[in-house]
Structures are given as C-alpha cells and as structure tokens.
C-alpha cells in the first residue's frame, strides 16, 4: 500500500493514531517519493533524510504514549528561507549556499514542538523575489501537472512538493502573492494570514511590512490544522499581534447562510483576464451562493495602482533588508578583494542573482535623496488609499471573492526576461499584502491544457476563520481534488 498516495494530514493523523502505519513508515515512503519524483520538478533544495527519520522515531514514541497532537508524525516541508538549525538555509541564493543558521525560526520550532517531521527545505525564487520560482540559484521548479510550465512563485517548491505528494503540507511566505499564486498554479490550498498573525522571527526578511508566513496543503482542513500550529503572538517578533487565536478546525462549516461575499467590479471586470479563469471564478461564485452565501458588488477604486505601489514599497524594504549581506559575517564572500568597499561590492554582486540586484537598485533609487517623496512616500500614500478601499468594502460584506491570477501558469522561460510582465502576474494578490488582510487560494478547476486554477478569498484583518469556513464549504461542494499530480505523466505527454 502506498501511504503517501493522496493522503491528507487529517487522514494521516487517524491512521497514525490507529496504528495502521507508523510515522517512520510514512516518512520513509515520503522520502522515497522525493527521491523518485523530485528530480523531475526540483521542489527541494535540501532533503533532510537523517533528521526526518529521527523526527519520525520521536513522533512514534509520542504516539505510542498517547501524547500525539494534530501534527505528530506528519511529514512537512519548509520554504528555504525559514531558518532551521542543523539544516542549511539558502534562500535559493548563492549568497547563502552553505549557510547553517545559528538558530531556528519560531514557526519551525512550533512545528517541531508539535511533533512534525521536517522532510527538508523547499525551492523558491531567490530571496522570495519572483512569481515563477525560476530565479533560484539551484535551478527552476517545474509545475508537477505539466513540466513545461512554471509552478508559480515565490513559494513554488512549497506548492509543487505538496501537489506531487512529496510532503503532506508545507509552509510558504507571501509578500505579494507568493503563497496564493503558486497554490493556484499547482492546485493546492494556500493561506496568507493577516499581517501580524504569525511570527516571522527567524524568517529571512524580504519586505518587512508585507511578509507573512502561511500554510500550504491539499485541503482546507489541513490548512486550518497548520495555521493553528503556527499562529499566535511571539515575544521575539514585535510585529506579531497579541490577539486570541480561534480554534480554526472546529469553525469549519458547509453552511454559509448569513455570509455576504463581495465581488469587486475592478477584479471581475478586469481586462486581460483569461476566459477560462473568468468562467471558473464565475462558477465558483455560484457554488458559494448555492452553499447559502449572498453576493454583492463592491468597489476597490485604487486597485489599478496596487502593483506600482507594491514595487516601490517592497523594493525599498528589500534594499534595506538585504544591506545586511556584506560578505563578512556570514554568507558568500568574494575570494579576492583589495579593500573593504571592494569586498562589499564584489561579494554582493557575485552572491546575489539578477532579479535580487534589480530590486535592490529600484529600492535604493526610490529611497535616495531627492526621490524619496516622489516614489517611496507617494507609494505609502497610495497604499493607505488601497487599505481604505478594503475597509470600505468590508463595511458591506464579510469576505471578497476574486481570481488569484489573471491566467493559468505560463510556460517556463516565457516571461523570464520581462520583469514588468512578471510583476503584473501578481495583480490580484498584491493588494492584500499592502492592506495587511488575510487571503486564501482554493483550487477551482483545471484549464483545457490541464493546468490548475485558483479562487481567491480575501477577509477582514484577523478573520482567517471566515476565510477557512467559506473555502471549506466551497471545496466540499465543488470537489476539485484530483489526487496527486504525477510529474512522470507530465514528462510523457
């Protein structure tokens, strides 16, 4: 029996507790699946075989003693910008190719404390800067449903590994859509929590006012379980907010009576949306209505400016955050430098890839003397208007439904040399990060070419529970689960 064949976290829990198989068996089969299938999709940067087996043995002991929690013995992967002591953390960059972090991130510690088995570190766009997972120093990730297409990004490895069954769930990070967009392209569920819901201590920073860590899995239930494990205030992250964390799993319900869903005219009427996406979203909205939800039109008048505001804010923050990579304390150091300045410049230029350098330059320019007001400050004001649009819209609805992406996944290399077109792929996801609200991507069908598509749900700040509830009702009603993606089948076609 193949244990990993389409198994969900909540199902694995029952089997592990009933003694149908052990965590060791489950982990061994997951590692086996990685060694067979990952060469085709490149979703892992590092497979932590030894420590995963040690995690599994510990988990089996807990299970035997009846001390198992929801994640005890569950094989999970982490996006490779979450620090893990003992497992190298690369950010998919030459800069950190051999970096063994001095401590672990809070989310990694929390999963470990919950008894999870950490299978390894998942591939991404370098320093999470990208929408296709093509800029990794360790090579691009491929979409497990069709190997000639991108898996989305930047959490492309986290999405692809889950879709192909190379872990049962994963953590990604989302700065402008980096959980939701790859989730949509790989046909998995992904949740970007509200800004402040999850600790970012020990998560390498890209844009500190936008970044959030969140779960990716093959069902809404599994996402609820994972969010439960990582949510909550952390004294080590002063931006994590001290508000109660509800019991997400128990709040899932198929009945959406009393719920009002807003449909933004700016999204649903947007030009350039692929007809297959448009019809899939229309159908998804009908399913939500059939589950009891009421729909209303809402307006988000400043959405057309979200991508521009985002690229100023995100690049500015990135240029500041990445200033820490100096070639001296950790990370790549150029072998030859005559002066300290040359050491900085050569280490950074040789260690960072092209997209990272491009964003550092944009951010440095936007923050430089004489341009600060015209770019950075202006972008922050537009950001305030975008956030207010959501506040106004949520006065008349409980959540918002929209597409995740304008089109199904593009082909590998298709827009790799065109940064602006790549940025515009995030047009529907970016505004949630600017406003700090939670967002979710739920599979809502396959294109004629067999590529997955995603429905996006956006919620009020700290109201992940309503998002999960609506996503759960939709998932149960629409039943889009086609099981695991089989990269080997994609290779043949």
């Amino acid at each position: 029996m193949s244990l990993t064949k389409g198994l969900h976290i909540h199902e694995a829990r029952k089997h592990l507790d009933a003694g149908d198989f052990t965590a060791e068996e489950l982990t061994r089969q997951t590692l086996q699946a990685i060694s067979e299938k990952d060469p085709l999709i490149n979703s892992y940067i590092t497979v932590a075989e030894e420590s995963a087996m040690a995690d599994a043995r510990l988990a089996d002991e807990k299970i035997r003693k009846g001390e198992a929690g929801a994640l005890t013995g569950i094989p999970l992967g982490l996006k490779d910008l979450i620090l893990t002591r003992g497992i190298r953390t690369t950010c998919a960059s030459r800069m950190l190719e051999n970096f063994d972090p001095p401590y672990s991130g809070t989310v990694a510690e929390k999963l470990k404390d919950a008894g999870a088995v950490i299978t390894g570190k998942l591939n991404l766009d370098e320093f999470a800067m990208g929408s296709s997972s093509e800029t990794s120093w360790f090579g691009p990730v491929k979409n497990p449903w069709n190997l000639s297409h991108i898996p989305g990004g930047s959490s492309g490895g986290s999405a692809a590994a889950v879709a192909a069954g190379l872990c049962l769930g994963s953590l990604g990070t989302d700065t402008g859509g980096s959980i939701r967009q790859p989730a949509a392209h790989c046909g998995v569920v992904g949740l970007k929590p509200s800004y402040g819901r999850v600790s970012r201590y020990g998560v390498v920073a890209f844009a500190s006012s936008l970044d959030q860590v969140g779960p990716m899995a093959r069902s809404v239930e599994d996402c609820a379980i994972l969010l439960q494990a990582i949510a909550g205030h952390d004294p080590k992250d002063s931006t994590s907010v001290n508000v109660p964390v509800p019991d997400y799993y128990s709040l899932l319900s198929k009945d959406l009576k009393g719920l009002t869903i807003g449909l933004p005219v700016e999204y649903h009427g947007a030009e350039g949306v692929h007809p297959e996406i448009r019809s899939a979203i229309g159908e998804a909205v009908r399913v939500l209505e059939a589950s009891g939800a009421k729909t209303v039109e809402v307006r988000l008048p400043h959405m057309a400016y979200a991508v521009a505001a985002y690229y100023v804010v995100a690049s500015s923050e990135a240029s500041t955050n990445l200033a820490r990579f100096d070639g001296i304390r950790y990370g790549y150091r150029t072998p030859e430098a005559a002066s300290l300045l040359e050491l900085y410049e050569k280490s950074r230029s040789e260690g960072f890839g092209e997209e990272v350098r491009r964003r550092i330059l944009v951010g440095t320019y936007a923050l430089s003397s004489g341009y600060y007001d015209a770019y950075y400050n202006k972008a922050l004001k537009v950001r305030a208007l975008i956030a207010k649009d959501f506040t106004d819209a949520f006065a008349g609805c409980d959540l918002i439904a929209a597409p995740v992406t304008p089109a199904p996944a593009f082909a590998l290399g298709e827009v790799a040399d065109d940064p602006l077109t790549m940025y515009l792929a995030d047009i529907f996801t970016i505004s949630a990060n600017l406003a700090g609200i939670p967002g979710m991507s739920v599979p809502c069908g396959f294109s004629a070419k067999g590529l997955p598509m995603g429905l996006q749900l956006l919620g009020k700040p700290f109201d992940e529970a309503t998002l999960l509830k609506a996503a759960y009702a939709y998932e149960k009603e629409a039943a889009w689960d086609r099981g695991l993606a089989d990269p080997a089948a994609g290779e043949k076609s």
Binding site: R329, L341, N377, L380, V382, L434, G436, P461
Partner: protein, 87 residues
C-alpha cells in the same frame, strides 16, 4: 552607476545598459502613481498600528561568540576579519 554605488553593487558596462533599460520600464510604470490624488492622505508604512514593544532590560538567551562567528572562515580571536582599512 551612482545608485549601484549606494547599494554597494558592482556593475560592468553590459549590466549597466541592460539594468538601465529595465529600470526605465519599471519606473515609467511606477510613475502611474502620480495620477492618484493623495492630497491630505497620511503615508501608511505598516498594516497594523503598533506601539513600542517594551520589555525589562535584562539579559536573555543569546548566541555565544562561537555560534556568532560560525558563518565565516575569516575570523581571529573572537573577531570578524576584514581587509585593512587604515594605512
């Protein structure tokens, strides 16, 4: 080139030309922000209103010198080594 210097990035001629073209396209797109009337709008640097997170000024857990220096080979007597900066 000036911006690259500020960002401590080294760029050769080819880099400069390619990057300048791409940055030009990106900045032209960003210029659409100028269409938005932001008169009287307060800049929003953060999504949640935070007050300073204060704690007692006591020594907590911290990395030792060895772990702190573990990310580099270039070290001596508990210090990071850099190229000579004064003559």
């Amino acid at each position: 080139m000036h911006v690259a210097g500020l960002a401590r990035l080294h760029m050769d001629e080819g880099d400069v030309e390619r990057m300048a073209t791409q940055l030009g396209t990106i900045l032209a797109y960003v210029d659409t922000l100028k269409e938005v009337d932001t008169e009287g709008v307060a800049p929003m640097s953060h999504a949640v209103h935070l007050v300073n997170a204060m704690r007692e000024d006591t020594v907590g857990e911290h990395l030792g010198v060895d772990i702190g220096l573990s990310g580099t080979e270039e070290k001596e007597d508990g210090h990071f080594l850099v190229p000579k900066i004064v003559g």
